[in-house]
């Protein structure tokens, strides 16, 4: 099985980091993974996205043009990528930042007020990981347990104090 994931939002929301965590979670389960960022004159406030592929087979093209799963954290990204999701695909939407609902009815849309939840939990910078938690729940692509375990690899040794916060965010998204 191959799952093609596109994560998109504003620069600064941790879109690339969320993708990196997903890739590590796939790697942790001995799957083939690839992670490809959009790169360019992007910065805080600009748009950012990354392609993540998790597969049982060797991965060909690392570019995700037709995502099975779309995670969106701002309206411009939702407007841009909603049409690209495969039929029957899944869209995880940060409903704090995106007021509208999905236009398409041939995809599964999941709404989660990730930014609001992050603020309430006292982890305002980790809405991205709440989104990942929700995505894991709805796709079953990796287990929550392995996702939390993989976080140990992603969060650098210098910042182990942040590990707990990331796990908290993943769990909150998963249980929402």
């Amino acid at each position: 099985m191959t799952t093609q994931i596109l994560i998109a939002g504003f620069g600064g929301q941790g879109v690339l980091f969320a993708g990196k965590c997903l890739a590590y979670e796939g790697l942790f389960e001995d799957k083939q993974v690839s992670w490809l960022p959009s790169y360019g004159p992007e910065m805080r406030g600009g748009t950012a996205n990354c392609s993540v592929i998790i597969s049982d087979e060797p991965i060909g093209s690392p570019i995700v043009a037709k995502p099975d799963v779309l995670i969106v954290m701002n309206l411009p990204s939702f407007d841009k990528y909603e049409k690209d999701v495969v039929k029957g695909g899944k869209i995880v939407i940060d409903s704090t930042l995106i007021a509208r609902e999905a236009v398409r009815n041939d995809v599964n849309a999941y709404y989660i007020p990730a930014t609001k939840l992050a603020n309430e939990l006292g982890i305002p910078t980790l809405a991205n990981m709440i989104m990942v938690g929700k995505m894991i729940k709805e796709t079953g692509i990796v287990t929550l347990e392995n996702a939390c375990e993989a976080m140990k690899k992603v969060v650098s040794a210098r910042h182990q104090d942040l590990l707990e916060a990331n796990v908290k965010a993943l769990t909150a998204g998963y249980n929402y």
């Binding site: 990196k20 890739a23 590590y24 790697l27 942790f28 083939q32 993974v33 690839s34 992670w35 490809l36 960022p37 790169y39 360019g40 991965i59 060909g60 093209s61 690392p62 570019i63 043009a65 690899k153």
Partner: protein, 352 residues
């Protein structure tokens, strides 16, 4: 879990260090700046030298100097920066010195853009600088290969005493994949020609690319081409994918080969007998296998991120026995697997 996730650029840098490279000279440019950043962080910790030169021209001439002293050395840049290095590369080739030059290509010509491209194929394989010379050119297609062929490039450069290029592109440099780096791989060889001081025990060595006597200059060129013949015989690398019963052959390297693999698999599902030949060395080009394949298949499709550069070598290798078509995007755009599939289907209609 011995595998780690790394960006292609970081994998190049770490692999170079594993291969014993302790001298890096460069100048930042998107999309390869992570190589310089990684070296800046690591080199001082392991007693190596990282130096951000004032320009690409300066950096390549520092490479020339360290290569002459017989130490493993590299530089890296992206397309416009590699153009600036061409004079120095020609000097290094003319002085028969081993060095690694990495080009993480972006769209051109001119300053072009910063998105991925393969339009420096001609420059890399046809001698981008002046004079009769060649570079061995490796074209990795995964982050693992970015590491593996960086190590191999240092070995072949030393073995044949010549500059070697690793030709990647923006996607290969920026993407992360699992990679496993070997623990120790340094197999440095004796370099009796190096200028490291004679200690008054031997005649001094000379590193030079100036020969005012034309007979002598001709002789050095002929000798160098004897060496190139050996390399063409021994160092050519390629991968065949689903070629056993193929009636059509896609030729693609680097990122284009990965996109093409998706298209080949999809075409097979539709009953089209198509395979892929992926050159891993762009020079020496896999002429032999392509010539043999020309007798078996009905047509070729060259998939490139350029207006069509490698296609000329595919035509030469196959002696134009079968039609060779092009599928490409350029300027930083990337063909989709669907576009490649469509080109494969069109090829089956045109070449029956």
């Amino acid at each position: 879990m011995s595998k780690v996730l790394m960006k292609g650029n970081e994998a190049i840098a770490e692999a170079a260090i594993k291969a014993g490279c302790r001298h890096y000279f460069g100048y930042p440019i998107t999309p390869q700046t992570e190589i310089a950043a990684y070296m800046a962080k690591r080199m001082p910790k392991i007693g190596g030298t990282f130096l951000q030169a004032e320009s690409e021209i300066s950096a390549i001439n520092m490479v020339y100097g360290v290569a002459g002293a017989g130490f493993r050395v590299m530089t890296s840049s992206s397309s416009p920066g590699v153009s600036l290095k061409q004079e120095g590369i020609s000097y290094i080739a003319g002085a028969d010195l081993p060095a690694l030059i990495v080009n993480v290509q972006r769209g051109g010509p001119g300053l072009g853009g910063i998105q991925p491209s393969q339009s420096d194929y001609f420059q890399a394989t046809k001698g981008g600088g002046h004079g009769d010379y060649r570079l061995i050119v490796y074209a990795p297609a995964s982050v693992q290969e970015m590491a593996d062929y960086t190590i191999k490039a240092f070995d072949t450069a030393d073995k044949y005493r010549m500059p070697v290029m690793l030709l990647a592109d923006g996607t290969m440099g920026q993407m992360m994949e699992p990679v496993e780096l070997p623990e120790t791989t340094v197999q440095e060889i004796e370099k009796p020609w190096a200028v490291r001081g004679t200690q008054n025990k031997r005649k001094h060595n000379i590193i030079n690319s100036l020969y005012l006597n034309p007979e002598e200059l001709e002789r050095t060129n002929i000798e160098r081409f004897e060496k190139y013949k050996v390399i063409e015989e021994n160092e050519c690398l390629y991968e065949e994918f689903m070629m056993d019963d193929a009636e059509y052959c896609v030729v693609a390297f680097g990122i284009a080969s990965r996109i093409s693999k998706n298209a080949v698999i999809e075409a097979r599902k539709q009953g089209v007998k198509v395979g892929l030949i992926r050159p891993i060395t762009l020079w020496p080009f896999p002429n032999k296998v392509l010539k043999q394949t020309a007798d078996k298949v009905k047509g070729f499709l060259s998939v490139e991120l350029s207006m069509g550069q490698m296609i000329e070598d595919v035509r030469l290798a196959t002696e134009c026995k079968k039609p060779v078509k092009l599928c490409s995007r350029t300027g930083g755009m990337i063909p989709s697997p669907e576009q490649v599939l469509e080109s494969i289907i069109n090829l089956t209609k045109e070449a029956k």
